[in-house]
Amino acid sequence: MDKDDYVIEMLHIRKEFPGIVANDDITLQLKRGEIHALLGENGAGKSTLMSVLFGLYTPEKGIIKKNGKEVRIKNPNDATALGIGMVHQHFMLVDIFTVLDNIILGAEPNKFGFLTKEAARKRVIQLSEKYNLKVDPDAKIEDITVGMQQRVEILKMLYRDNEVLIFDEPTAVLTPQEIDELMKIMKELAAEGKSILFITHKLNEIKEVADRCSILRKGKYIGTVDVENTTKEELSSLMVGHSVSLKVDKKEAQPADTVLQIKDLCVKSKLHNKDCVHNVSFDVKAGEIVCIAGIDGNGQTELIGGLTGLENISGGQILLDGEDITRKSIRYKNTHGISHVPEDRHKHGLVLDYSLEDNMVLQRYYEPKFSRFGLLKRDTIRSYSDRLTKQFDVRSGEGARTVVRSMSGGNQQKAIIAREMDRDHKLLIAVQPTRGLDVGAIEYIHKAIVNERDQGSAILLVSLELDEVMNLSDRILVMYEGEIVGEVDPKKTTLQELGLYMSGAKKDTGKEA
């Protein structure tokens, strides 16, 4: 291919933030019709580079060329005009709008200023059927799951006929089946002549779909390789600078006393007038990791909501160490042995405009350790936060005083993990604890969870990542349409069997005593 075949060229891009150089002389050249992966750890500068391309940030240095001609992209409108579309890692959707309204937003079809949505609706339904991106066009964004929200984002780009498509870690929230479908879509799109930039840190996916791969590390450009001629191990060491093992080392579980008992738990759905968790019963023992597997949107979020008190329970019983905590307050649960790494770190896990140290004591600020006579003990909070950030390797620009909003997703998550693991607990609930994190961070968090287990904590893990489910758990419960449809032993099962349970094709009818 000759030089003219580059549809997008980003040459010598430099972008700085206070205290940090996010992109340092980065060059990225995207050929027409290729799937180009952008690989790098959390904080390597991938999202920043893409934001520059999408017009969200103005680079200090460097130029961008479209079809060989230099262009200036000052805002997302410029990017859209150039046919560049992006699915963001954190979705850009209007919560109270419907799916359809979000898709047409910014390109509203109208006649004399009046909205004409019928044609748009047909097109959206057609697109969603064609690419198997199932969404209800009339559901409100705030009512649908994270997985569905992403489908909306993808539809948004498809609806706009964008020529250059940026996917910012699109598979982080998808189920294995959905990922396969997405890969298919991406290949089809590339075959149609669209050019795709695919940000990820999942090597399997790169091997599967990408033609070429550019690697960033710590804000610097490492190189571009042909995926076909490069092994996963080589990619991995290019990304992190050293090889990492992807398997979790753990000993045989030593389950002891039952810590959590859930009996016939029901949680009402917010969407419709029926339960989205039906009569769910299970136990978690000290010293074991029980994982709830399932496709996104099958009641896992609501189950955990009901368990932790974030959602109202419509029936059933929750026992913690034999004590009935069904109707207890969230604070009571927090202080009586439940730690909770929430699914949505921005919505629940953090006060983004608070400093790191203030977030570290989010549930504990009032304890005698951190306050006296209603006054916060600032020094103790500072040193506590410093200890945790050091212990869990949470990195931030300005230490304990860093506003959490300015931290990278991986470090935000590490901060939550640090806080929840350090609190006294008998039960640790971790919902998608490694979502959107890089290999190094995932490995770290997995080790920490296994370590927690070996210390005698009961661990309830909810994950959509099958690798994580298989590697980490001692027992797997599969949830489908609000029910536990099967319990399997990760050592005796296969991915195929799990897939059958998750898709509702297989069901254990006889309940265990």
Binding site: E16, F17, P18, G19, I20, V21, A22, E41, N42, G43, A44, G45, K46, S47, T48, S51, L56, Y57, E60, H88, Q89, H90, K218, G219, T308, L310, S329, I330, R331, Y332, N334, T335, H340, P342, K347, H348, G349, L350, V351, L352, Y354, D358, L362, Q363, Y365, S371, G374, L375, L376, R378, R395, S396, G397, E398, G399, A400, S406, S408, G409, N411
Partner: protein
């Protein structure tokens, strides 16, 4: 790893700068209006407004007297803005401050004139009245999820008419002048103890209201930033869901915040009317104090101490209108200027944004120097 942001990047400094820009722009636009009205006397008019009571530089007693009056009148404005910013920090927009202030007037004047209570009891009554009004809004917000702005506006009107009824009675209002009786003539015990009146040219309205206002601001500063209660309120204000996740009691906090905010508004009324400087007349709309307090709160950067400075500035300009030569100008020009500044307050955030944009480039060098010391993992800014 830790480093201090440079002077101009500190949020506090930026807020102050943005507020100053707003104030200067407001004055400039005011000057343009003076020019339009009467070009030949515009400079003179502007000078009169800005020079204000300082024109009495012949006699320091007179000068201090008028300075004192400005201070006295700034007190309720500052306290109302404290009430607003306190609720705002908890994520609540207490537009009901106007009504809470009004029932504060009702309580302080009724208890002082009709019931003959002494001053500190009158203050307590005013606080209780304002707090009750805040409680009602807060209760509806917390229990029935009624928007506090809607509830606040309703309560404003209820408060206004109730106040008109109570203060319009023969016991409190002189029916011949349609003004409430002078407290001095009816119940001198209800007047606030004077404070530094001699320093301020024997201004009898100089009372403890002044130092108390500063103390209230400091207390709020401490409560918001140093206490567990303030920690909860701000967490709720920033992210209600995270506050719930952390086990904070949202219902209690919403009610408590509006009770305290309302209490401060009621207190503001007592700190003004119990000086005896003004009498209440039957009004057909809620006093503007509560609404102007919103602007002062924003001009002051939503900071309890900033509100004091902003309140004094706004009151200074308002008073400046009286010094305009009425042959050439309508004294309401000063009000117009205040209105423009208030309008520009909405732009405080915009100016802060502009400053950040400009400074980012200037700071390139600074960052290059510190680059080696900084951890490298933190480069990815979330979009």
């Amino acid at each position: 790893m830790e480093k201090k942001p440079s002077f101009f990047r500190r949020p506090g400094v930026q807020t102050v700068l943005a507020s100053i820009i707003c104030a200067i722009l407001g004055i400039l636009v005011g000057f343009l209006i003076l020019l339009a009205m009467n070009p030949s006397h515009a400079v003179e008019g502007m000078t009169a407004i800005l020079r204000n009571f300082l024109k009495y530089d012949q006699s320091s007693t007179t000068l201090m007297y008028y300075f004192g009056s400005t201070l006295v009148k700034a007190v309720p404005l500052i306290l109302c803005s404290e009430a607003i910013l306190f609720a705002y920090k908890a994520g609540l927009f207490n537009i009901g401050v106007a009504g809470q202030y009004t029932v504060g007037i009702m309580a302080s004047l009724y208890t002082s004139i009709a019931l003959g209570w002494s001053w500190w009891l009158c203050i307590l009554a005013a606080i209780a009245a304002g707090a009750l009004w805040g409680f009602i809004s807060g209760f509806f917000k917390a229990v029935f999820n009624v928007n506090e702005v809607i509830a606040g506006i309703m309560m404003n009107w209820i408060g206004l008419y109730l106040t008109n009824i109570v203060l319009g009675s023969k016991k409190v209002m002189d029916q011949s002048t349609s003004k409430t009786y002078n407290i001095l003539s009816k119940n001198p015990d209800a007047l606030l103890p004077s404070f530094l009146a001699n320093v301020f040219g024997h201004n009898q309205y100089m009372t403890i209201a002044l130092p108390v206002t500063v103390i209230v601001a400091i207390i709020l500063l401490v409560v918001l930033n140093k206490t567990t209660f303030g920690y909860e309120l701000r967490a709720t204000g920033h992210n209600k869901e995270a506050a719930r996740y952390a086990g904070m009691n949202a219902t209690r906090n919403v009610i408590l915040t509006l009770v305290i905010s309302g209490g401060i508004a009621g207190f503001a009324a007592s700190m003004f009317y119990l000086t005896g400087i003004e009498q209440y007349t039957l009004a057909s709309s809620v006093p503007g104090m509560g609404f102007n307090g919103i602007a002062v709160a924003f001009l002051g950067g939503l900071h309890p101490i900033g509100a004091i400075v902003a309140g004094l500035f706004i009151e200074y300009l308002t008073m400046g209108g009286q010094y305009l030569d009425t042959n050439y100008f309508n004294p309401q020009v000063a009000d117009l200027m205040v209105a423009i500044i208030i309008y520009l307050c909405g732009f405080v955030l915009f100016f802060k944004h502009l400053m950040n944009k400009g400074k980012a480039k200037a700071l390139t060098n600074v960052n290059a120097e510190t680059e080696e010391n900084t951890t490298t993992d933190e480069k990815d800014k979330e979009v």
